[in-house]
């Protein structure tokens, strides 16, 4: 698994980068984990319903939020600086071809990562929607795409994200409170540090080796 730290990167540029890695992995290259942040962006998944954007497009512009269609599952979600976004490019042909198991492992990675900050989080199972939750609030949203059994898109974890921005939408189509590591703990670690922590948990949960040079 190659670990790629992209820093703050435009959403569409990250999508293109993911597709490049997907082609490489389909051709036999090792998988990759892209870690990044995005400028303020609303992304519309394939289950998007227009009523889940709660404000007029003019107001989105005022907030400096761009809107992008995304070829992932799920409804609308928000990315913004302070949110750690992880895009694993994984060949599921070698990992049981099971989307549910993959989604659970990605959520488990996030649960384990949050424990490093003293946060006891849970996966969204049973009556809760998928994602990662702390009490009744959602801290991470998940949505993936798969081509030739190679994954792209992934999970966004709110570290220091401006939570006010979520009032622009019904996140994932749910009436739900969003939370962040900063809100829960007061901590605001650098994104490079938290990216490394996340990568470590990812490698362990997915039983993968780091092939980064």
């Amino acid at each position: 698994m190659r670990i790629i730290y992209c820093g703050l990167i435009e959403y569409e540029r990250a999508m293109k980068l993911q597709k490049d890695f997907v082609r490489e992995v389909m051709a036999g290259a090792p998988g990759a984990l892209l870690l990044c942040e995005h400028p303020k962006t609303l992304t519309l998944g394939r289950a998007y319903h227009q009523q889940n954007i709660l404000v007029h497009s003019d107001e989105l512009l005022c907030h400096g939020v761009t809107v992008v269609s995304a070829d992932r599952g799920g409804d609308v979600t928000l990315h913004a600086p302070g949110q750690l976004v992880a895009y694993p490019i994984v060949d599921l042909k070698h990992r049981g071809r099971d989307l549910t198991v993959y989604l659970r492992k990605l959520e488990q990675t996030c649960v384990d990562f949050l424990l490093d900050f003293g946060i006891v989080a849970e996966q969204g199972e049973g009556t809760r929607a998928r994602g990662v939750w702390v009490g009744g609030a959602k801290i991470a949203s998940i949505g993936i795409g798969v081509s030739h059994w190679v994954t792209y898109h992934g999970i966004g974890v709110n570290m220091t994200t401006d939570l006010e921005l979520f009032k622009l939408i019904r996140p994932c189509g749910l009436d739900v409170a969003m939370t962040s590591v900063k809100k829960l703990t007061g901590l605001s670690s650098s994104m490079s540090v938290v990216s490394e922590k996340f990568a470590g948990h990812f490698l362990r949960v997915f039983d993968a080796k780091n092939h980064s040079s």
Partner: protein, 77 residues
């Protein structure tokens, strides 16, 4: 005759909704192509063309329809 079948996508997933056919009846698909995009709760899944490729003879599910896992999505010749 070759068939494009909705594969088992994993634990608890019994069906998926057709989002978009990237090819229409009469068009040739190659092994590297994603033929049809499907969506489940949190995943978009692109069904690949079979290794042999072929020409799409008949499509069985329209965009917006739900298809059960294991169903034939299209015939190829």
């Amino acid at each position: 005759m070759l068939k494009i079948i909705l594969p088992d996508l994993g634990d608890g997933i019994t069906q998926a909704k057709i989002v978009h056919w990237n090819f229409q009846e009469g068009q040739r698909v190659s092994p590297e192509d994603d033929v049809v995009e499907l969506v489940t709760d949190k995943a978009v899944f692109n069904v690949p063309a079979p290794a042999e490729g072929g020409v799409i003879k008949k499509i069985y599910y329209k965009e917006g329809q739900e298809a059960p896992v294991g169903s034939v999505l299209a015939d190829l010749v």
